[in-house]
Amino acid sequence: MEQLVFYSAALVAVVSALLVVFQRRAVHSVLALIVCLSSVAVLYFQLGGYFLAAVQVIVYAGAVMVLFLFVIMLIDPESEMFVVKRTRSLLLPALVVAGVTGGVLSSVLLSFPESRTPGMPGGLRDIAAALFRDYLLPFEITSILILAAVVGALILAKRSD
């Protein structure tokens, strides 16, 4: 059962990630990305990160992707600029980048020995204790970052006339 969930979620994640890249229309890419993020949320759940699985669905697959859709709708989705022809000239550099990235990443990641005592420490209580005690300062800085992002986005998107 566990195997089945993992492999189906992994398959869906990889296929939808490929669809994100190879769809010609941006709206279809967004929809594929939502599927990808949701299947990764399933994997979070399976790893034991229940809180983060929920956050992934609510914040990522929900809010952030809706933001993407909003922007695409704001800039006319039917217009030609979203149906850009794929540029052949970039295929080779992209393959080189993908090859190097994939090779380095998988060799580095697989060099770690398997843990003897794996186990996801707990629930919300542990995360909250870590977040609000050990990482209190980074947490507060994050709130300042969000504030700066909100102000910046407002100033950028406002019509200047």
């Binding site: 790893l47 983060l52 922007v71 800039i75 540029t87 697989l110 420490p121 990482y135 700066a148 910046g152």
Partner: protein, 100 residues
Amino acid sequence: MIPASHYLILAAALFTIGAFGVVVRRNAITMFMCIELMLNAVNLIFLTFARDFAQVDGQVFVFFVMTVAAAEAGVGLAIIVLLSRHTRTVDVDQADRMKW
């Protein structure tokens, strides 16, 4: 239990697809989505090691990465809206005014 290496290989594959997409696509919004894909792969690695080392810190870091990604999406999409308003395109090859 699924061994950690399976998750790591999946995350490496997702990251690689994202990197490939950033290079091969010229549409700013699609490039942005590929960056989100890469961030997501990194989050999966964080969580895998959180389980592997039985430490809660990995989960806290995923939380921070998600926050930064949300902030980045907000500002980045505002920039893309601005770009499309000024140049009537979201193709990054067309937006070359700052290029020498």
